[in-house]
């Protein structure tokens, strides 16, 4: 099992609600660092791309760019209703929808705002997906941890 998920968090057109919950998941009450999570802020160091909020004209390129900069294997996690489907803003003229309009999304975490518990569950699930992708990529069991 992957034990060291490093996360990059990008906030699309969200309301902040999910972002602060993502941050809250890092803080003492929830402390996702228990699972080895580090919020790196640097796509080149990241394993999990965590997106909150929907995609619009302007951040489309940013999301694509971050995704491309991340080395394989990588998992994309859409957190919150906005990132899953566009949510309550789906009908806004400037909202294209969830990030799955631009990049492949591996995991959808619902909630408005997504609770830190949901985010933790999501991260745990993302780890399994990551491990699967790694196996596929290297075709071998992990160098033993």
């Amino acid at each position: 099992m992957q034990k060291s998920p490093w996360i990059i968090h990008y906030d699309g057109s969200s309301c902040n609600g999910c972002d602060i919950e993502v941050l809250a998941a890092l803080t003492p009450m929830y402390d996702v660092e228990r699972f080895g999570v580090i919020n790196t802020g640097n796509p080149k160091h990241a394993d999990i791309f965590l997106i909150t909020g929907s995609v619009n004209e302007q951040n489309k390129a940013v999301i694509k760019n971050i995704y491309d900069q991340m080395p394989n294997p990588k998992v994309v996690m859409a957190v919150g209703i906005c990132a899953c489907t566009g949510g309550i803003f789906r009908e806004c003229y400037n909202v294209l929808g969830g990030p799955d309009k631009v990049i492949p999304v591996d995991l959808y975490v619902p909630g408005c705002a997504a609770r830190p518990e949901s985010i933790i569950d999501g991260v745990v699930k993302a780890l399994e997906l990551w491990e699967g992708k790694r196996r596929k990529r290297t075709g071998r069991e992990s160098i033993q941890t």
Partner: protein, 112 residues
């Protein structure tokens, strides 16, 4: 002392118990009334589609003919508006969120 003013707090934390809730090893107990997900007692639903019309995100769809009530969990913002609108009071807000899924997938259907 103007240096290390935080010492008391961090030393107390170091030797005390961490504030971490240890989820998921310890399951979370949600307070009563916490808005998590919508549940339906479909046997009392009259398929009047009022909930569908009220839902601000169009997460619900109700089909009177086939008697199917559907919800897309990835659209629901847990606002409780549908439950307030339902004349039959068969919708209710339960605690705890719906789980993460790996594909946008299908809506959840409830048949009468």
């Amino acid at each position: 002392m103007p240096f290390f003013t935080i010492s008391k707090t961090i030393l107390r934390s170091l030797f005390g118990r961490p504030a971490t809730l240890m989820y998921p090893a310890v399951p979370r107990e949600y307070v009563e009334g916490s808005r998590g997900h919508i549940e339906i007692a479909v046997e009392s639903c009259s398929f009047c589609s009022l909930c569908q019309r009220k839902c601000p995100t169009e997460a619900l769809s109700v089909d009177r003919e086939t008697k199917i009530w559907k919800i897309d969990r990835l659209r629901c913002i847990a606002c409780n508006f549908c439950a307030e609108a339902c004349p039959k009071k068969c919708l209710s807000m339960a605690t705890g969120y719906s789980p993460a899924v790996t594909s946008p997938g299908e809506t959840e259907e409830h048949h009468a």
